[in-house]
């Protein structure tokens, strides 16, 4: 009788243990399946949000070229309103405010959204009040509090330009895309350089648009030499790559700090065909010293159509002197809603430098990253689209994750 009881007890114990074990197994399997379903939902949401951004110009659709429309946005989108499909407005993209990269200028007393701060001599600093904030975008997209995202819009082709040491200006242009060198690609270029003039310290801004076509070799590299320009000449070089169906652009501007400082251009606003740009005298990236003397500048705005033949839109010359209370200069530039760039040559009369500021990210092929920081997020869905800005090929990558854990049901 005792043996039977023991037998029952052992059997019951083993049975209960096995039952719990199997319930655990089944539960885990079900849990994984449910999680996968949620992840799949996030991926679908990621694709939908990306298409929603890329295939809508927003409302009102002119908010990219009209800064005053930002406050009236009822829907968010980046599509170029003049086109269809995956063509992105070069101006709307400029208005995406970074949540982390913002700079403050003491002289103007304004905050600026930092899309490029001296990257190869280019500045793209737009006043934050003329930009759209990430929080507003998520609200307009209807995902505020449900999902966070990061949108990266990067040129498909990377065009790296480096100056090779030597007596004259010799440039190496390297072109690649997705880690793959782009061989036999045609290159056009624009060259601007600064000379001293007999008229005080004002620099002369020279240019050469009659580009002979270069071609990259099997390593995706081409060289261009300017024998008539010594290696210390301040210059801005912009190259455009043309492969089968792919176009990209790159640049190099020789920014230097002279004895009277340098110039950093800030875009106050651009609205309905007019851009307001502030040229600020600085010392490197710091405020200038009051004891610094005159800094002379000569700036030209060029509209840059798809033909890559620049059209002069305006020329400005003057001088800055922070110590005399004249550390900034406001420029009103008629852009006529065309993309382009402003080349600014500056100097103290002896030493010269150049910087460039694009109007429309495609002019210089600048990348834009917008949104929340994705590091440390547990499950991030990503999706990718090929897009066109101007005629430059870009890739728009959206990373999206849930803010409500995995339990996203709506």
């Amino acid at each position: 009788m005792a043996g039977a009881t023991i037998d029952h007890l052992i059997a019951l114990t083993i049975f209960l243990a096995a039952l719990l074990l199997f319930i655990s197994f089944f539960n885990q399997m079900n849990q994984t399946a449910i999680l996968y379903q949620y992840h799949s939902y996030i991926a679908a949401e990621c694709s939908d949000v990306l298409d929603s951004i890329m295939l809508n110009p927003g409302a009102p659709s002119d908010w990219g070229v009209s800064g005053g429309s930002i406050q009236n946005l009822t829907f968010f989108g980046l599509q170029d309103p003049e086109f269809q499909e995956y063509r992105i407005s070069p101006f709307s993209v400029m208005r995406l405010a970074s949540t982390t990269n913002q700079v403050y200028n003491d002289q103007t007393g304004q905050w600026y959204n930092d899309l490029a701060w001296g990257v190869n001599g280019a500045y793209l600093l737009l006043q934050t009040t003329d930009s759209i904030r990430y929080h507003n975008v998520t609200s307009l997209l209807g995902i505020n509090g449900t999902y966070d995202f990061q949108l990266s819009i990067t040129p498909t082709l990377t065009v790296n330009i480096t100056q090779i040491p030597g007596a004259d200006i010799k440039l190496e242009i390297q072109v690649y895309g997705s880690g793959f060198p782009l061989s036999n690609a045609n290159l056009d270029y624009l060259m601007f350089w600064a000379n001293s003039s007999s008229n005080g310290g004002f620099p002369i801004l020279n240019s050469n648009f009659t580009s002979d076509i270069l071609q990259t070799d099997s390593s995706g590299i081409a060289f261009k030499e300017f024998p008539s320009l010594s290696n210390d000449t301040a210059f801005t070089f912009i190259a455009k790559v043309n492969a089968v169906g792919l176009r990209g652009t790159g640049y190099l501007s020789q920014e230097t700090v002279t004895n009277t400082g340098n110039i950093i251009p800030y875009i106050q606003s651009f609205d309905n065909g007019t851009a307001y740009i502030v040229l600020a005298q600085q010392y490197g990236h710091d405020d200038p010293l009051p004891s610094m003397g005159d800094l002379y500048y000569n700036a030209s705005f060029y509209a840059l159509p798809d033909t890559f033949v620049p059209i002069l839109g305006g020329n400005f010359a003057g001088d800055l002197n922070y110590g005399n209370g004249n550390g900034t200069k406001n420029l009103q530039v008629a852009t006529n809603n065309q993309t382009g760039f402003m080349v600014i040559a500056y100097g103290d009369g002896t030493h010269y430098g150049t910087v460039v500021v694009p109007l429309g990210v495609n002019s210089l092929g600048l990348p834009v990253t917008f949104g929340s920081n994705l590091s440390g997020k547990e499950w991030v869905a990503t999706d990718l689209r090929q897009v066109i800005i101007g005629d430059i090929a870009y890739q728009a990558k959206l990373s999206l994750w849930s803010l409500t854990g995995y339990q996203v049901t709506s």
Partner: protein
């Protein structure tokens, strides 16, 4: 002991159940759970490559290895490194063929794209393709009265010759070249009225368009013959229209209100200072209608037209404007609209309305003469297309009216025709299946 053995048997059964359930409940791989939308990526890649028509150019250069190598480099450069691809161009066949799409050329960076590949297709057109529209020819003679010995009235701002030139240009593609005949003087018009063609054209069933406006050119012989009553000449024109089944087109104003011949009436003016024109008055139109219906002539000077004011194009005419690519203003001003009562009085029936009838008047329509009296007839014997509009004339309205009446088909070349388009399919997969 037996119970323990039984429990182990139960555990075996549950293990079997778990394994069986696990076997069928296959969870997808993480890549499948959160996939890259390869279909969209493929489509946007094709659109990007064709943004400046580069893809279209390469697709048609199937023997150009350099171009296809360039395309492969561009594809590799534009796609993420873990994405493998196959791009294939297909010829599009037309007609009754077994295979609508025939492989033209293909490039790939992998032998197989695995199980989870996705694709997008894109139609590209050859840059050498010219989109053409070939109208069906209207198989009758088109006479344009371009009489150098005539004067015009209510064609302000134009000359007879400029209107004739416009009409010739508009209708050039709708008629055989030999079927568009300029009637250069009133003598040639008299020749036609006597059934003598000017060349090899056919007089029967012809269209005669009067570019003079309200006056109608009169040959010298007829002017002499009917010098006591020029309305009889209009009656004769009506007779000819019935006899030869002409479609007489009046482009503006009161039809047959004057006769014109600068030789005969060199000292006569129309009352408004235009010489070479002699006024008949309303009797001209009445006489023409009597003539076309074979009624006995009587000089009837009663004014019959109405003035409905603003009139609109009919829906059929508007559709034909789009179809033929001729776009006159959809609203016009009518002050000389023929009354609907003439249809019963002269056995006329409306064949094509160009302008919407309003208030019992017909501002613009092709009226066919079909004899209804016993024995009833179904054959058309003459037509009148009168645009009872105020000056100045719009030749596009006359063109829409004639085209609406004859309704020639436009044969358009299509991009899907053989040799003009290719189908490009980009299939993408991820490395590792």
């Amino acid at each position: 002991m037996m119970r323990t053995v039984e429990i182990f048997i139960v555990i075996l059964i549950m293990t079997g159940a778990f394994l069986t359930a696990s076997f069928y409940a296959v969870l997808p791989s993480p890549r499948q759970v959160s996939p890259l939308n390869l279909s969209r990526l493929a489509l946007t890649t094709l659109e990007t490559l064709d943004a400046e028509n580069d893809l279209s150019s390469v697709a048609f250069e199937t023997t150009n290895d350099t171009a296809w190598n360039g395309l492969q480099v561009a594809l590799s450069a534009s796609l993420p490194t873990n994405v493998i691809y196959n791009l294939t161009a297909y010829d599009i066949s037309s007609g009754e063929v077994q295979n609508l799409y025939t492989l033209s050329r293909s490039i790939s960076n992998a032998q197989s794209l695995g199980m989870d590949s996705d694709a997008a297709s894109y139609i590209v057109a050859s840059s050498n393709v010219t989109f053409t529209v070939t109208p069906q020819k209207i198989g009758v003679t088109f006479y344009i009265l371009n009489c150098s010995d005539s004067s015009g009235w209510w064609i302000t701002g134009y000359t007879i010759q400029s209107i004739a030139q416009q009409l010739a240009e508009i209708f050039a593609s709708y008629f055989e070249p030999s079927s568009i005949v300029m009637v250069q003087n009133t003598t040639q018009l008299g020749q036609l009225m006597n059934d003598r063609p000017l060349g090899n054209e056919t007089i029967q069933n012809a269209i005669i368009i009067n570019t003079c406006g309200e006056p109608v050119p009169i040959p010298q012989s007829y002017a002499t013959l009917y010098s006591s009553d020029y309305a009889q000449y209009c009656y004769q024109l009506g007779n000819c229209s019935e006899l030869y089944n002409w479609t007489w087109v009046s482009i503006v104003g009161y039809p047959f209100y004057y006769v014109t011949n600068t030789q005969v009436f060199n000292g006569v003016q129309n009352g408004w200072g235009i010489y070479g024109i002699n006024e008949i008055g309303p009797a001209g139109l009445n006489a023409f209608l009597e003539g076309i219906d074979g009624q006995p002539y009587s000089n009837n000077g009663n004014w019959i037209t109405d003035s409905p004011g603003v009139v609109t194009l009919t829906s059929t005419a508007l559709n034909n404007c789009s179809y033929y690519g001729i776009f006159p203003s959809p609203t016009q001003t009518s002050t000389r609209a023929i009354p609907e009562s003439v249809t019963a009085q002269y056995n006329l029936s409306i064949a094509t309305d160009v302008l919407n009838p309003t208030g019992g008047s017909i501002p613009g329509a092709v009226l066919n003469h079909i004899f209804k009296a016993p024995p009833p007839d179904t054959n058309v014997t003459g037509s009148l297309f009168a645009l009872g509009l105020t000056r100045v004339p719009d030749t596009r309205l006359a063109a829409i009216g004639i085209l609406s009446y004859y309704n020639p088909t436009l044969y358009k070349s299509e991009y899907t025709a053989a040799g003009t388009s290719k189908l490009v399919v980009l299939q993408l997969g991820l490395e590792g299946g």
